[in-house]
Symmetry: C2
């Protein structure tokens, strides 16, 4: 059995460093494909393909604006990752601080 497809879920999609960069770039503002390619110094086909992967798992939204297609991070899906990793929050730092920081880190 080979590795799971990058489009199988958000966890596989964010395994690629360039896709994480794209998500960071699109977190605050919409960008077109060519803008992303310029910002990350990548070829346009590569960027398009990365965006299809991200869109496939719901990590970005897509909106056509004339000839351009504007992409933006869908933070709600990133939240899936956040929630999963939060399962381990109870074990961050030593056991002593657990009670003290429980309210903030276990939230």
């Amino acid at each position: 059995m080979p590795r799971a497809a990058t489009t199988s879920d958000a966890f596989n999609a964010i395994a690629e460093p360039r896709r994480r960069h794209i998500l960071e770039l699109l977190a605050h503002e919409e960008r077109s494909v060519s803008e992303i390619a310029a910002a990350l110094d990548l070829g346009q086909p590569s960027v398009s393909k990365h965006l299809q992967v991200l869109h496939g798992v719901g990590l970005v939204t897509q909106r056509r604006e004339g000839r351009h297609v504007m992409y933006r991070t869908n933070a709600e899906t990133v939240r899936t990752i956040h929630e999963w990793s939060r399962l381990f929050a109870r074990h961050w730092r030593g056991q002593l601080r657990r009670i003290k920081t429980h309210a903030e880190e276990d939230r």
Copy 2:
């Protein structure tokens, strides 16, 4: 250029669903390789290889106990994932609730 190695960082290591299961299983208590294999219904070689990947990126710790090797999740490394995903917390839920929940979710 192929996909990044599963051992390149924690993001790549947790892309595999079975490795996430292992981390969940080892979050609260140490387990030996054979116990993990039994719990997840996987072959021993597969489990060993997954554990090497997880250990390589610091997601689990390793301790020999006689013939057994005990593994346990290293939550501190999972925290890396948590912190990255937290970058997007500002965009969870609508803009209106942002101020109200800022203290808890942006922490």
